[in-house]
């Protein structure tokens, strides 16, 4: 018994040393780290990229935001590309709201795509916003940018009360570790829906794996009815949902719009036709899945 315990301890020690060696060997360098109220925020330089992370571990999918140092306009993540699908649904949005600034990649991109637009970004973590400014050239001193350090749901409720309305709302508040459960409920989506103008478009960057996929899809369907999902077939971790207050355009209209956007999106490394292909209105979730509400929202337990 005793020797078994010693063996186990030795084995786990060796394992952790090996693990340490592997992590050390990788080409990652922490250039800045800061503890915030919510998490450890790490800025990492690796493979010619700057990445923001909330964990030290060296696994690519844990990065929240990344940009290439020598080509900052090229998207690192597929989900940024998927998110560009929403440009097929809007016509020169004037008021854009982003819930979950992160590195500010989406805010910057939409600022470039629609220079006339006013872009309001909400981020709960002031350290994340600070890193966005320092490493991702997010610049909210420009007159058409504003940043609010606030809980997304609280912001939405307050904005509704203040009678604000938006043409385009991007929901991007989740990371792979933890989901703010009060921001994945029917009531929250109803508030967001009300915050969008009559012809407003709402886009959400969400999960495509685990049970949560079904619950979340059922919740969106409950609030908005029909929806489009954007998901590159071979990539599994993220999908983008597009919903609206009005009827969503058909594929043919999207094709027209995609052709218009082709040149612009090429700059970011987006293949417009592949993106159009990735857009689907197929009901691929379990429609019987229980809808998440403020009363029932165990999102982190369903993950």
């Amino acid at each position: 018994m005793k020797s078994f315990i010693i063996k186990t301890i030795l084995a786990s020690l060796t394992a952790s040393i090996l693990l340490l060696a592997v992590t050390q060997k990788a080409d990652a360098k922490i250039i800045e780290q800061e503890r915030s109220l919510y998490q450890n925020v790490y800025m990492v330089e690796e493979y010619g990229m700057h990445c923001m992370r909330f964990r030290k571990k060296n696994k690519n999918d844990l990065s929240q935001s990344c940009i290439f140092l020598d080509a900052p306009e090229i998207f690192v993540f597929d989900y940024y590309k998927q998110a560009m699908g929403v440009t097929f649904f809007v016509e020169d949005p004037k008021e854009i709201l982003i819930i979950g600034l992160g590195g500010g990649v989406l805010a910057n991109t939409f600022g470039e795509l629609y220079p006339e637009a006013h872009i309001t970004s909400v981020e709960i973590d002031p350290v994340v916003a600070k890193m966005a400014k320092k490493y991702f050239s997010y610049d909210d001193s420009k007159p058409n940018f504003e940043t609010h350090i606030r809980d997304g749901r609280v912001f939405v409720k307050r904005a509704l009360k203040d009678k604000k309305r938006y043409d385009l709302i991007l929901l991007d508040a989740f990371n792979s570790d933890y989901i703010p459960e009060h921001m994945m409920t029917k009531e929250y989506l109803e508030e967001v829906k009300e915050l969008a103008k009559d012809d407003g478009i709402i886009m959400a960057n969400t999960f495509s794996t685990s049970d949560l996929f079904h619950h979340e899809s059922a919740t969106y369907a409950e609030v908005f009815g029909p929806m489009y999902q954007i998901n590159f077939k071979d990539k599994k971790t993220n999908r983008v949902i597009v919903v609206s207050n009005k009827e969503l355009p058909g594929k043919r209209e999207l094709l027209k719009k995609a052709n218009q956007m082709k040149g612009v999106l090429q700059i970011y490394g987006v293949d417009t036709l592949a993106l159009l292909d990735a857009i689907s209105d197929e009901v691929n979730w379990d429609t019987e899945a229980r809808v998440l509400t403020d009363q029932y929202s165990p999102a982190n337990l369903l993950k």
Partner: protein, 208 residues
């Protein structure tokens, strides 16, 4: 008798933490899920429990018996009902005029949780009074009571955060808690035995 009171104290500890944990879920749509929302909730619960301990101890001076003990449980149950029915309205009302989510969450949790938790806090010292037989063993009795009720709290925390929120709606858990509290109150109220321990203690004390 002893077992009954220990079981009551265990359940009380369990349900206090059930309600406290649900507090976070109740307030987060209005004030977020940040550390200060939890700070508000925990502050209110600690404050309420401290007041409850004081009042429960005071109440136990005057002819302690299991009927009164049962009434405390029933009262607690009755205060959980308006909490369940009114938490949305109260949160909305507070949100309307409180810009700062720190004070919003503090005010809302005071309105919602202070009174039920004060009453739940009265149970522990009252239980001690019903259990204590001699001054000599009073420390041990109190210690054992704390052990049992805090074990209940640990159980309530785990059960609620791991399972109950996965199985039930918040309001159903709250109504369930009220029902259990009321049932315990009724059982304690009709518990046939006369307040034996209370008498034993007074005679013992006289003897010393």
């Amino acid at each position: 008798m002893q077992i009954l009171i220990l079981a009551c104290a265990f359940t009380c500890g369990f349900l206090i933490m059930t309600i406290e944990l649900l507090g976070g879920k109740i307030l987060s749509p209005y004030f977020g899920g940040s550390v200060y929302v939890w700070g508000s909730i925990i502050t209110v619960f600690m404050l309420a429990l401290s007041i409850g301990y004081l009042l429960g101890g005071k109440l136990s001076l005057n002819n302690p018996n299991t009927r009164k003990y049962g009434i405390i449980f029933m009262l607690a149950a009755l205060t959980v009902v308006p909490l369940t029915m009114g938490h949305v309205a109260v949160s909305e009302w507070v949100f309307d005029f409180t810009e700062d989510p720190r004070y919003g969450s503090l005010l809302a949790s005071t309105i919602l949780f202070l009174i039920p938790t004060i009453i739940l806090g009265m149970i522990a010292p009252y239980s001690v009074r019903l259990l204590v037989r001699t001054t000599h063993s009073s420390g041990q009795t109190a210690g054992f009571l704390y052990f049992v009720s805090t074990l209940g709290s640990a159980g309530g925390t785990l059960a609620t955060s791991f399972y109950l929120v996965l199985w039930f709606k918040i309001d159903h858990i709250l109504y369930g808690s009220a029902l259990i509290l009321f049932a315990i109150g009724v059982i304690a109220f009709f518990f046939p035995q006369p307040p034996l321990s209370a008498r034993t203690v007074s005679t013992n004390e006289k003897a010393e």
